[in-house]
């Protein structure tokens, strides 16, 4: 299977309701390999729900998700998990399991429930931990880690899967500035290596660095395009109730966009 086909995730008129409330409404999108996409929107816009639908964790009321051209529901669970990694918003992970074993879980789809870790698995785990700088607490119990350290551990878990599709729900939660930067760099690096990366971003300044921006409002996809698209920026500001304006900053690699809070 070519990298292009394996990395392609499509949503076709996705619809999903909870308790009579339409949470995801007629969302159609396609994630291309090699692209880092940020998903933004106000609280309650349905970002996490959309991500979970794309990961196959909910069954949509209508529409479907295609992974490499094949409906997600038709994929055997393990094969789907090899191609698609998902990280939840609030890492509810707690317990006495140590860091390196958490990251090792990312290899579970490759090993299967009964398999033993191979040299490939161990290399992937080490690389993922180095990527988030979580190697120093590999031997520490999860319950003794700080919020940021745990978040990096869980991120490594998602990265260790080395899947062509990477879905991350607010990966920058709890991270300080250097680790946010490291995360953005590694998302870009994953995308350049051919992965389709979709991350729900709370921090708009980080989101504006993505290759592509998806703006969700009341469950509907109201804008989809590169961050420098003027119409998209207008939509973005409107959706967030004019709480900020978007300004251009000159930089060494061309213009950069920042969200400036409006008072």
């Amino acid at each position: 299977m070519s990298a292009l086909a394996a990395g392609l995730l499509q949503a076709d008129r996705l619809q999903w309701s909870v308790g009579g409330q339409r949470v995801v409404d007629q969302v159609t999108l396609a994630l291309a390999p090699g692209q880092w996409t940020a998903l933004v929107g106000p609280n309650g816009a349905g970002k996490s729900s959309l991500l979970a639908l794309l990961a196959g964790l909910h069954r949509p009321d209508a529409g479907q998700v295609l992974l490499a051209g094949r409906p997600l529901a038709d994929w055997p669970a393990r094969q789907r998990a090899q191609r698609l990694a998902w990280m939840s918003q609030q890492g509810e992970a707690e317990g006495e399991i140590i860091g390196v074993d958490v990251v090792g879980l990312g290899r579970l789809p490759h090993q299967g429930l009964f398999g033993a870790p191979t040299a490939d698995d161990m290399a992937a785990v080490q690389a993922a931990m180095a990527e988030t700088a979580s190697t120093p607490f590999a031997a520490r119990r999860l319950s003794t880690l700080s919020g940021g350290e745990r978040q990096r551990m869980l991120l490594s878990r998602a990265l260790a899967a080395q899947s062509p599709v990477l879905l991350l729900d607010e990966p920058t939660t709890h991270l300080d500035a250097p680790h946010q930067r490291a995360l953005v760099r590694s998302l870009l690096q994953r995308a350049r290596a051919g992965a389709a990366v979709l991350a729900v971003m709370h921090d708009l300044n980080l989101a504006l660095m993505a290759d592509r921006l998806l703006v969700l409002h009341h469950g509907r996809l109201v804008a989809d395009g590169p961050p420098d698209d003027a119409a998209l920026q207008q939509r973005l500001v409107a959706v967030f109730d004019q709480a900020f304006s978007i300004a251009a900053l000159p930089g060494p690699q061309g213009r950069r966009w920042v969200a400036v809070p409006a008072l």
Partner: protein
């Protein structure tokens, strides 16, 4: 900070940490527990109603007929309870979960009361003295069926094992309902009360070779299967959604693990009654001593549970010899004190 690429210095530090883990590793703990089990067995063979005796030859008959199966049986029953406790705590992601929480205790109680009441009615009508061994076998079977029946009813009410919270609540409901049914039956045939008390108090005194056979058989079935599927419990640490995203068929796996837990608990309850705290404390002890994944945790918890119940059994026989304490009272006492110490330490910041 160097985050983008692996740094050899960091790895050197990682491996130094991994291998310089203080004192106990999983393997060393396993060796320690095996040694303790051997010591416990030796003590169990020596502990008689007239104090400890090392005259193996003179006591050969006693040892062969009574002390050996009893000591080995206590070890096996403790192993089943420790394993069931580790399964429960992993399944419900709750360090306070114990093997009895899905209705198996109340189910076993109801089973025993039913059997006793039916036996009493039968004996009354036919005026036939019930045969000792038949009666005992009937009670063991009734307790076993009751325990599994309790868990099955819980699963039925919860609509499967997909929602853990639902399962826990239904376990409570089944416990209350079956307890009430037992109480009602006891009103009709009060003579069953004593029998239930004796049977379910938690005692290793009835363990013979056949009992050991059942316990060992259950252990041989449940322990390898539990360890084999134990990796799923590691994934559950990350939460249900993450475990599913890793490609696990969670409802089926949960059902299987609940079934294994019920089988382990039911077999133990039917042979030694309701021995408390072993299933709760054993996994705690292991987790505190070594950080392990669930495969090792399940096996080590079984070993720790076996050692705990064996030690309690030897103590129950020796402390007020020639009298005997019910082992369940001892484990409750020891377990309670252990948890208290643990709580105090946690309050004091370890």
């Amino acid at each position: 900070m160097q985050m983008a690429r692996p740094s050899s210095r960091l790895f050197a530090r990682l491996f130094a940490r991994l291998f310089a883990r203080p004192l106990l590793t999983a393997w060393r703990l396993a060796g320690l527990l095996a040694l303790l089990a051997l010591l416990g067995i030796a003590a169990g063979l020596a502990a008689g109603s007239e104090g400890w005796s090392l005259a193996w030859h003179d006591d050969a008959v006693l040892i062969q007929a009574i002390r050996a199966p009893r000591s080995l049986g206590a070890l096996a029953a403790g192993m089943l309870l420790g394993l069931a406790g580790a399964l429960a705590q992993g399944l419900f992601r709750n360090p306070l979960a114990d093997p009895y929480l899905l209705g198996s205790a109340a189910g076993a109680g109801l089973g025993v009361v039913l059997a006793l009441a039916a036996g009493g009615a039968l004996a009354g009508s036919a005026a036939m003295p019930p045969l000792g061994w038949l009666r005992e076998l009937g009670l063991v079977g009734a307790a076993f069926c009751g325990a599994l029946g309790g868990v099955a009813l819980t699963l039925l009410l919860a609509g499967g094992a997909a929602r853990p919270l639902q399962l826990l609540l239904c376990g409570v409901v089944v416990g209350v309902l079956m307890g009430a049914a037992s109480d009602l039956l006891l009103l009709v045939s009060p003579e069953a009360l004593r029998g239930r008390q004796v049977f379910l108090l938690g005692t290793t005194g009835f363990l013979g070779w056949p009992a050991l056979g059942w316990l060992a058989g259950a252990l041989a079935l449940v322990l390898p299967l539990a360890c084999w599927f134990g990796r799923a419990l590691d994934a559950l640490v990350l939460g249900d959604a993450s475990a599913r995203s890793l490609g696990l068929r969670l409802p089926a796996l949960r059902l299987l693990l609940v079934g294994l837990m019920a089988l382990a608990t039911g077999t133990a309850v039917s042979q030694v009654g309701l021995v408390g705290f072993v299933g709760l404390v054993a996994p705690h002890l292991v987790r505190r001593l070594v950080p392990v994944t669930h495969r090792a945790l399940l096996a080590l918890s079984a070993a720790a549970g076996g050692v705990l119940l064996l030690a309690a059994d030897v103590a129950a026989r020796s402390l007020i010899a020639p009298q005997e304490l019910p082992v369940g009272v001892l484990t409750a006492l020891l377990g309670g004190v252990y948890l208290l110490v643990l709580l105090r330490r946690q309050r004091g910041g370890r």
